[in-house]
């Protein structure tokens, strides 16, 4: 929700604009002086003048609109809403009451707020504040929806906002972001691409598009976008990790290693980069480096399922089955859904002669593939 002080400032400005444009000069001066009183917090002075104006002209939409603002300041929202609607009922095409109604609706009825702002912009298409408010209402509302896990609702709000402001890069970015969260990767790709056409140096959108391509198994374009992002934000350790991650997906391990190492130079606490370096070393057969890196990871995060599994695998490969068993048991305790841990636990049990238990673990490993469709990893949603 927008801060209340910002509400008033924005409303007064809109009121002033419309006051000057749509009424005679003396009346406009009086309305402006009322607006100034409201801004100063002199609500009784403002009310007195407004009542006088309304006595002379009971249906004056601008006076009704300002009186609605007074009620709003007085926390009488329902009366304020009635007054704004009355202002609109006069038939005059003024944007202010629509914007003010949008303010009332924004916290709980974002779609209604957007509809009001839509009407305001239809009347005053160049009204930057209305557009800005619409953007903020939609984005704040979508963020709140996401926090609540209501992704579809977030998408609906953003979709309505985009219908009013189709070329707004921020709305497009948010739409893409939320679509990604909803696993609607094609939509995400479309919106993020559109956002970047409008604002090529939009780093967050570049990062989000890289993630989207990766989720679509399009490693090459993902890499391209992540590199573009890094050209905008060269010191972003998270993105360097992301680049390494993408390069690993492309099986380009040597380049991935460089990216992970760079991310660690930028941010030595990037535990996941250390973990990935351990994985690379393990696959290369550099067991000592792998072990050192797994150990480093575990020093920072003693329940890191991947690192515990990595140590277990190294022990298994070395024929140290009891050690492997202990490590893998810890790994499974830390990450019960990690298929690789169960698989190596099954192999270890088999080597220890515990055939029945080995088969059970193997069955668990298989079932995890069914449930998850493969290995999932964490990468920050935003740089």
């Amino acid at each position: 929700m927008l801060p209340f002080r910002l509400f008033v400032a924005a409303m007064l400005s809109v009121v002033a604009f419309h006051a000057l444009c749509q009424t005679d000069s003396s009346r406009a001066e009086r309305l402006q002086s009322v607006a100034a009183l409201i801004q100063r917090g002199d609500l009784s002075g403002a009310e007195s003048q407004l009542q006088s104006l309304l006595q002379q002209s009971p249906g004056d939409p601008l006076a009704l609109n300002l009186l609605g603002l007074v009620r709003l300041q007085q926390r009488n929202t329902s009366e304020a809403e009635r007054l704004f609607k009355s202002a609109l009922a006069s038939g005059h095409k003024i944007a202010g009451p629509h914007i003010n109604l949008a303010m009332i609706y924004a916290p709980d009825r974002p779609l209604d707020a957007i509809a009001e702002l839509h009407q305001a912009l239809a009347i005053a298409p160049q009204d930057k504040q209305a557009a800005s408010l619409l953007r903020q209402v939609a984005r704040n509302s979508a963020a709140a929806d996401i926090e609540r896990g209501e992704k579809d609702k977030a998408l609906e709000v953003l979709s309505n906002a985009r219908a009013v402001l189709p070329h707004d890069p921020e709305l497009l970015y948010d739409s893409g972001f939320v679509a990604f969260e909803c696993a609607s990767y094609q939509d995400a790709e479309n919106w993020l691409t559109e956002a970047l056409k409008l604002r090529p140096d939009y780093p967050e959108a570049r990062y989000a598009l890289a993630r989207t391509y990766l989720a679509e198994n399009l490693a090459k374009p993902a890499e391209e976008e992540m590199r573009k992002y890094l050209s905008l934000k060269p010191d972003d350790a998270t993105a360097e990790y992301g680049l390494g991650y993408i390069l690993m997906a492309e099986q380009r391990l040597d380049e991935a290693k460089i990216a992970f190492e760079k991310s660690l130079t930028l941010q030595p606490q990037q535990t996941e980069s250390v973990y990935q370096l351990a994985e690379i070393a393990s696959q290369k057969g550099d067991n000592l480096t792998a072990q050192n890196n797994y150990t480093k990871v575990l020093a920072r995060d003693p329940r890191h399922g991947g690192a515990l599994t990595g140590l277990g695998v190294l022990a298994y490969r070395a024929g140290k089955y009891s050690e492997a068993k202990a490590d893998l048991e810890k790994a499974i305790s830390a990450a019960p859904d990690y298929q690789k841990a169960h698989y190596y636990y099954a192999l270890t049990l088999s080597r220890l002669g515990e055939k029945t238990e080995a088969q059970r673990e193997f069955a668990i490993a298989k079932s995890l593939q069914k449930e998850h469709g493969g290995e999932h990893h964490l990468l920050a949603a935003q740089p």
Partner: protein, 559 residues
């Protein structure tokens, strides 16, 4: 604005690899498509329907064998059959016209081929899948076993250019959906037995898979069908077979597409590997008493190195690292990486796809027929793979994968694999729905050639014209106490450059049968210091100082 942070579900198959081989030491091959020139005009007919019946996309196999003993390899190509739309559940499709016939091409002395299908009597009867070659009656002529959907066929080679369908007498018709098959004398009694992989319990029921919109219907994933047991036919007397799967312990159901044999633990008895589709792979260890034990898990070949199953299709069971022990390579679908396992020499294997560079090479490929051939005769077995995704909708659902793909040629540097496809001829740029693949030296020039089949498309004969002056040796075994083909014999070859090891087999790959002769590249060696052959009978034969660049027939000595 602060939107929530969420889990990032990345590529399902994130993995690591090591480009083990020196990347700059690339020796390209040269393979040339000589199909038309040689007079081969085969067209596989899959009978695609809007119903997306699964057999329509599984393709078929090819055999390279010398059926008339004239010293030249002939080609047998398996074909589909007509399918109605709809085809009622339970239907066993028939070949309704010659367009669906399997074809036997006889190689003439000038290197061209003639279609002798009709005269030979090997046109097949139903929806064909695979072919296995072996001299099951030890009469000196290679026989053909053709797998089909519904009922398989055993063609006995009469030795006069004709074959006789002896399926009923022999008792090897089987049932269900058979795919790859191979001949193996699993009990070392001197007669070839037959192992047949079956795919799954499947009929022509109309099941919609994929999105319910025009053009989006897809072939169903094997997960929705039940697995089925394999068939093992014991050769009783050279004429009759007995189905012994149960007695032999092959009772565990799978979804077999590929089958290969080798004695992975050097105990003198051939073991069987079955590549299963989207479930764990099977390694049947021969217990030397006529029974097998499935040891895939404890041998570490059941799944990939991360514990994941994959869509096993074609398989190679061959010593690719020249340590004297058979290793495994299994072709699978895109994003799975072809699985390779090096033999740890203790009854287990180690997943090697990352370490040997295959992960990076094969991540986005889908492979079927696969063979380990030393295309440049440098002494290291390389890989050639027929490729193409199983789903003809994959290009628009997963743009990084393709229904049609070029074949893959991967060079073995001795330290890892390097993709040399792009520099090895125009055939490696062709987009094919590759399926079957058989290897053999078609023109007896000491270089291994291949035939690739495509789904609902032509077959391609690829002649190996790789340059270089490396030497070679080809061995054709003739068993006396052992089976006539010497299938299952283990050959160890020693040169100053090192040791090579091979198992005599016509099996492996996908639904296909390879040249029974064993080919060795010798690099710069002009002579082989020693060859040791361990025959299935147990007889060990040693040959010394064998000259290179010849095809040598070796007869099993008397005990």
């Amino acid at each position: 604005m602060s939107l929530g942070r969420g889990l990032f579900v990345a590529l399902a198959a994130l993995a690591l690899t090591i480009a083990a081989g020196p990347p700059n030491t690339v020796t390209p091959g040269k393979f040339t498509d000589i199909t038309e020139h040689c007079g081969i005009h085969f067209l596989h007919r899959a009978s695609p329907t809007p119903k997306k019946y699964l057999p329509e996309t599984m393709g078929s196999g090819v055999a390279l064998f010398d059926y008339d003993n004239d010293g030249l390899l002939d080609i047998y190509l398996v074909n589909g059959a007509h399918l109605d739309d709809p085809t009622p559940a339970g239907t066993i499709p028939k070949k309704t016209e010659p367009a669906y016939w399997n074809r036997l091409y006889h190689q003439k002395k000038d290197g061209t081929f003639e279609d002798v299908t009709e005269r030979a009597g090997v046109a097949g009867t139903g929806y064909g899948m695979g072919v296995a070659v072996g001299d099951y009656d030890n009469d000196g002529y290679e026989d053909l076993y053709v797998t089909q959907y519904g009922r398989n066929i055993l063609y006995h080679n009469n030795g006069d250019g004709t074959f006789t369908d002896v399926t009923a007498t022999a008792g090897v018709a089987g049932s269900g959906w058979s795919t790859s098959a191979t001949w193996v004398d699993y009990d070392n009694d001197g007669k070839l037995d037959l192992v047949v992989a079956r795919y799954m319990v499947w009929d022509f029921s109309d099941i919609w898979c994929g999105e319910r919109q025009e053009g989006h219907r897809a072939y169903c994933h094997p997960d929705i069908f039940k697995p089925i047991t394999f068939l093992l036919f014991h050769n009783e007397d050279g004429k009759h077979f007995r189905e012994v799967s149960k007695q032999a312990g092959l009772t565990i159901p799978g979804k077999g597409l590929g089958v290969a044999i080798a004695d992975y633990d050097h105990d003198g008895y051939p073991d069987i590997f079955v590549a299963n589709d989207s479930m764990q792979e099977f390694l049947f260890h021969n217990k030397r008493n006529g029974t097998f034990e499935e040891v895939g898990l404890e041998s570490e070949v059941a799944v990939d190195g991360d514990g994941r199953t994959y869509a096993g299709m074609g398989v190679v069971f061959s010593d690719y690292n020249n340590d004297g022990w058979p290793d495994l390579i299994i072709a699978d679908l895109g994003n799975e990486k072809y699985a390779s396992y090096t033999n740890s020499r203790d009854g287990s294997f180690q997943y090697a796809t990352y370490a040997n560079g295959l992960a990076g090479i094969t991540l986005l490929h889908s492979g079927w027929g696969v063979q380990a051939i030393d295309y440049d005769n440098d002494g290291w077995k390389d890989l050639i793979v027929a490729q193409g995704h199983v789903l003809d909708t994959i290009d628009f659902t997963t743009p990084t994968l393709h229904y049609k793909e070029p074949p893959l040629l991967v060079r073995n540097t001795g330290q890892g694999f390097v993709d040399v496809s792009k520099s090895s001829g125009a055939v490696f740029s062709q987009q094919w729905a590759g399926r079957g693949l058989a290897s053999g030296d078609i023109d007896n020039d000491g270089k291994m050639d291949v035939v690739i089949t495509t789904n609902n498309g032509p077959a391609y004969l690829l002649k190996n014209e790789t340059s270089g002056n490396n030497h070679w040796l080809m061995l054709k075994l003739a068993g006396t106490k052992s089976n006539r083909d010497g299938i299952g014999a283990a050959i160890q070859l020693k040169t100053p450059a090192g040791i090579q090891y091979a198992t005599v087999t016509t099996g492996g790959s996908y639904c296909s049968a390879n040249d029974v002769r064993v080919h060795f590249g010798l690099g710069q060696e002009t002579q082989v210091k020693q060859i040791e052959i361990r025959w299935p009978s147990g007889i060990v034969q040693k040959l010394s100082d064998v000259h290179a660049d010849q095809s040598l027939k070796v007869t099993e000595p008397a005990p």
